[in-house]
């Protein structure tokens, strides 16, 4: 059995890769993929700890997170599509009608 610390390391690494992607990529689709990585890092934790504690709560919750991630992508792709139609690009830094 692999000790739970290694799962935590793995999930931490994946979370950081996702965060790095969000901070550096300007393409909205890469942004979505990075968010998926971060959510799946949470899933790894949930499943690993669920195994560790011997209860199913975490595993069931990770299924919910997977489903919600899919729903989020569906809405996100829709917004990116109208972004492309209005600005002719999926670069998140191109949309600057409103000041930040």
């Amino acid at each position: 059995m692999v000790a739970v610390q290694y799962y935590l390391l793995l999930s931490g690494a994946i979370f950081c890769i996702g965060l790095f992607g969000i901070l550096t990529r300007r393409n909205a689709l890469f942004f979505l993929m990075s968010v998926e990585l971060m959510l799946n890092a949470a899933n790894i934790n949930l499943v690993a700890f669920s195994f560790q504690y011997g209860n199913l709560t975490g595993q069931v919750f990770s299924l919910f997170i997977t489903a919600l991630a899919a729903a989020e992508v569906a809405v996100g792709i829709g917004i990116i599509l109208v972004l492309y139609r209005n600005f002719g690009d999926v670069d998140v830094t191109k949309a600057t009608t409103l000041r930040w």
Partner: protein, 515 residues
């Protein structure tokens, strides 16, 4: 087991001696009504999607649904469901908790949703996809009412997403308007990022305790945990998720863009109801699951919220003072108000928990009306197409005096002058801050309120004292928008004398969390 035990304790009242499953349904009536109305709208629209003449039916159905949900919440609150001696009503193994706090916030959400839907009828005239619009508002309201009742981190996350996903689509609702699309994109990007951080935080809390239920986590933590570091990081990440939903620093960047670009009724809905929803979950999670004593070894989150409150209200108010567009000023002012409400969380564990948390709840109630009203007045201005800056509002008082009186009430009430409930609710927060020894926060609250008077009164000056531009002309007085604005103004005003009615409910609901 938990359900049946709590039901035996709870359904002892003469009117509620029903079978347990029915009891669950009764307690969740507001949520079910909102969700059901959304589905009914879907059916109405699918009968003849291209028929523009069913618009009144759609708006009417949506409004009736939210009014019924509001009525149900008020009845449940008045009947004392989930309040009093027996404690909260725990449904489905504690996944949902119906108590005074949940019902109090349900009243806020359904009131705001009603005002927004009534106002949207005129705002959306001649636009397509109206059924989808009302449906998304109702689904988001369903998510918010579930957030108020969430009893475990799993239901917190799911209901938060149910409230967020329709909101992203609502902000980007004007598909051909670059501002709206850009606002939707920014709101979505930061929302997706913060929900990922939130989910990771939940997974770490689960790692430290092995539980997701709020009560179970509290129970587990009372015995101490070995994994103090993991728990601390997890708690802070969960706090980050709430900071996004409530538009607090450091996740407030989306708020000005989203509120400015979104259709004004949607801005009203998000800045009032969505913010309140973020706060009710934060109150419940931090007060019940992560009580300051239990997580003291890991992280002192009252200090974190102290910092967030101080920075949020200062940044929000200073940024609002430098704006030249009214809607953007309101957006930053809503960040500032999030800072005031955060004082309730920062001042926990000083022995007066019920009082300070109750003060924050009352402020959110009053804010729900005065801020919604202010954004709906902006919606009215957008409907007349008179422009977005302070100067564009010059002399509007000569053209539309009634709406401008209402707007003046909102502005002065938001600033904390005694023309509306905002005065009393801010006073309660101040008393709470002073009573728990947070003098710096109390001083910041006063300084920021004084500053906010400057930019709020700029609006009032434009409306009444500046000469109108020659081109200023308004076409018609839209009934729905007027009704919503005036209704919000009347309630804001009535909350000045009526605040004590609400404050008793709020304080006892907040105290019950710590019982």
């Amino acid at each position: 087991m938990v359900i049946s035990a709590s039901l035996v304790t709870w359904f002892s009242g003469p009117t509620l001696q029903t079978a347990p499953p029915i009891g669950d349904w009764v307690a969740l009536t507001p949520v079910l009504l909102l969700g059901l109305t959304a589905l009914i709208l879907f059916v109405i629209d699918s009968i003849d999607p291209d028929d523009a003449s069913n618009t009144p039916a759609l708006a009417g159905t949506a409004a009736v649904g939210t009014v019924l949900a509001l009525g149900a919440a008020v009845v449940l609150l008045a009947a004392g469901i989930g309040q009093g001696q027996g404690g909260a009503l725990r449904l489905y193994g504690g996944q949902l908790i119906v108590d005074g706090m949940a019902l109090f916030f349900t009243v806020i959400f359904t009131s705001v949703a009603t005002l927004v839907i009534v106002a949207s009828y005129d705002y959306l005239a001649d636009r397509v996809y109206q059924a989808e619009y009302y449906m998304l508002i109702l689904l988001a309201a369903t998510g918010m009412t579930l957030m108020a009742a969430a009893g475990s981190l799993a239901t917190v996350f799911i209901s938060l997403e149910l409230a967020s996903l329709p909101s992203y689509a609502l902000v980007a609702f004007l598909k051909d308007n670059r501002g709206s699309v850009e606002a939707g994109l920014k709101y979505f990007l930061i929302g997706a990022l913060s929900s990922a951080i939130f989910a990771y935080g939940i997974s770490l809390v689960y790692g430290a305790t092995g539980r997701l239920g709020l009560d179970a986590i509290a129970q587990q933590l009372s015995g101490g945990t070995q994994l103090v570091g993991i728990l601390g990081v997890g708690v802070l990440m969960v706090a980050g998720g709430f900071a996004f939903k409530t538009a607090s620093v450091p996740f407030h960047f989306w708020a000005p863009a989203a509120y400015e670009g979104a259709p004004a009724p949607v801005s009203a809905f998000l800045s009032s109801a969505s913010k309140a929803a973020g706060f009710v979950v934060a109150f419940r999670v931090f007060a019940v699951a992560f009580s300051p004593d239990a997580v003291a070894a890991s992280v002192d989150w009252t200090l974190a919220f102290w910092l967030l409150a101080a920075v949020t209200m200062t940044i929000g108010n200073f940024a609002a003072a430098t704006q030249d567009k009214v809607k953007r000023m309101l957006a930053y002012s809503s960040v500032g108000h999030a800072g005031y409400v955060l004082i309730g969380l920062a001042a926990l564990n000083a022995g007066q928990n019920g009082l300070v948390l109750g003060a924050s709840m009352i402020h959110l109630l009053v804010y729900g009306f005065m801020n919604t009203g202010a954004f709906l007045f902006v919606a009215l201005a957008e409907h007349w197409e008179i422009g977005r800056t302070f100067e564009d509002y010059n002399g509007l008082g000569t053209q539309a005096p009634i709406a401008c009186v209402a707007m003046s009430v909102f502005m002065f009430s938001l600033a904390g002058l005694p023309v509306g409930g905002g005065f009393m609710s801010k006073y309660f927060i101040l008393v709470g801050a002073v009573g728990t020894g947070h003098f710096v926060l109390a001083a910041l609250l006063l300084i920021n309120s004084a500053l906010s008077l400057y930019y709020y009164s700029r609006v009032v000056r434009s409306l009444w004292f500046e000469d109108p531009a020659d081109s200023l002309s308004i076409d018609g007085y839209p009934v729905g928008l007027y009704a919503a604005v005036i209704g919000a103004a009347v309630i804001t005003f009535l909350l000045l004398p009526g605040i004590f009615l609400a404050s008793d409910v709020a304080t006892s609901a907040a105290s019950a969390l710590f019982a």
